[in-house]
């Protein structure tokens, strides 16, 4: 009896000590380097995915944004500074699963975004990880002015890169890779070319497909008009290539002169952001 009691007490004490030593503390040690000298606030946003043994995402959850004032940081501290980062309420991996997190960060000065970007996915194989983000490697966004937007709750686009690709049937696809902040998972994009000079009017790019990649990246694809099928008199009807509409060519080849209107909103309309990229107005 006394043997059992003594061993139980020892085991309990040991368990308590071990849990105290390992079970507490943050999930990440976030090591930030080269924080912009004029930045006054940092914003953090994390996405955590649960991956099965095949590496497929079985659950994904995005945190609410969190801000941290850095007004008091000295120049030397901005060269190298670390925070603890705790993922409160993040999904938990089962024994045969892995947990992967992406940390998005934005450095702002008043209502201007100075740097914005996200870390590479980090698989949390241990309880505590170092995660280093260098602000030198993050984008200085072409759309820095927040206006009335608040990064603690609003959605905001900072950059959109235009590409022209082909789908499996060799149809042209206008692809837009949008970088920003706090994108909801149900976000949908609408594209338009406002006041296209050649047409003398605005052109709506309908049937856009929006793909949510992360709270800070989206992909929007718009299928260009399909080539017309013409009868060539041959035994088989062959699709004949027709030139892409000029506005599509201008969107890619002359992006600064050809404006692209991007309108994002979620299903219930609680979050929205509109940006006319390129053209004469680049706000």
């Amino acid at each position: 009896m006394s043997l059992f009691r003594t061993r139980s007490v020892s085991a309990a004490l040991l368990g308590l000590l071990m849990s105290g030593a390992v079970g507490c503390g943050p999930d990440f040690k976030l090591i930030l380097t080269n924080i912009p000298s004029d930045a006054d606030t940092l914003y953090f946003l994390t996405r955590t995915d649960i991956l099965n043994s095949s590496g497929q995402v079985v659950q994904s959850k995005v945190s609410k944004p969190k801000s941290e004032s850095i007004r008091s940081l000295s120049a030397s501290q901005r060269e190298l500074y670390s925070y603890g980062l705790t993922l409160d309420g993040a999904p938990v991996a089962a024994s045969d699963q892995n947990r992967q997190s992406i940390v998005s960060v934005a450095a702002t000065q008043n209502s201007t975004v100075l740097r914005i970007g996200e870390s590479a996915p980090v698989v949390m194989t241990t309880q505590f990880l170092d995660l280093q983000i260098s602000f030198d490697s993050l984008a200085s966004p072409p759309r820095p002015m927040l206006g009335t937007k608040n990064l603690n709750k609003d959605m905001f686009m900072t950059e959109a890169r235009r590409f022209l690709t082909l789908d499996g049937q060799l149809n042209g696809i206008l692809r837009l890779e949008i970088i920003g902040w706090n994108f909801p998972t149900d976000v949908q994009a609408k594209l338009s070319i406002p006041n296209y000079p050649a047409a003398g009017q605005s052109i709506e790019l309908t049937n856009c497909k929006t793909t949510y990649d992360s709270p800070s990246t989206l992909t929007v694809e718009w299928p260009t008009p399909k080539p017309a099928v013409v009868n060539t008199g041959m035994p088989m009807q062959m699709p004949m290539p027709t030139p892409l509409p000029s506005y599509v060519i201008d969107l890619i080849n002359n992006p600064t002169q050809t404006a692209l209107g991007i309108s994002l909103s979620n299903t219930d309309g609680s979050r929205a952001d509109d940006w006319t990229q390129g053209g004469q107005r680049s706000m």
Partner: protein, 168 residues
């Protein structure tokens, strides 16, 4: 000059027999009258000092073998000899008994000690049990490892800024 005979008579009346005998012995030294030895024997006998009494009677018989009190003195000597032997025998028995008692007590003590040793061997104190040291050693090692891990973890947890908690 002290009259030892008169003093002895006084002490005898007061039933201080051994003191009276001493005075009679002193009186004999100054005036060797064998009767003083006989009376000293009488006084020692009354004082229940048989060994000294017998010696006085024997000295009296030796000093005055033809004295009319010699038969009585011899009678006393014989009686006292028996008494002394009896007392010696009794003392010997008592001594033996005491020795036996001592041996018995020693045996009991040894038996109890052996029993205690047996009990100790059967149920040794907790610190003599191997598992106690195994558990204690394991616990000490675990605490040491835990402390090292704690220090390492706390060093890993040390950050320049606060802990930022993002909620999902």
């Amino acid at each position: 000059m002290v009259d030892h005979v008169q003093l002895a008579q006084q002490l005898f009346k007061e039933q201080k027999y051994s003191a009276a005998a001493e005075q009679l012995k002193l009186a004999y030294e100054t005036q060797p009258n064998p009767l003083f030895l006989f009376n000293a024997g009488q006084a020692y006998r009354k004082a229940m000092w048989p060994l000294e009494s017998k010696q006085m009677y024997e000295r009296f018989v030796e000093a005055a073998p033809d004295h009319p009190l010699v038969p009585e003195a011899k009678g006393y000597i014989q009686t006292l000899t028996s008494l002394i032997e009896e007392r010696q025998a009794k003392q010997k028995v008592e001594l033996t008994l005491i020795e036996k008692q001592g041996e018995l007590q020693e045996q009991v003590r040894k038996r109890e000690e052996a029993q205690r040793a047996l009990e100790r061997a059967k149920n040794p104190p907790i610190y003599r049990k191997p598992w106690f040291w195994a558990v204690t050693g394991g616990a000490v090692a675990a605490v040491g490892v835990t402390l090292i891990v704690s220090l390492a973890v706390s060093a890993r947890f040390r950050t320049d800024g606060p802990i930022i908690s993002v909620s999902y």
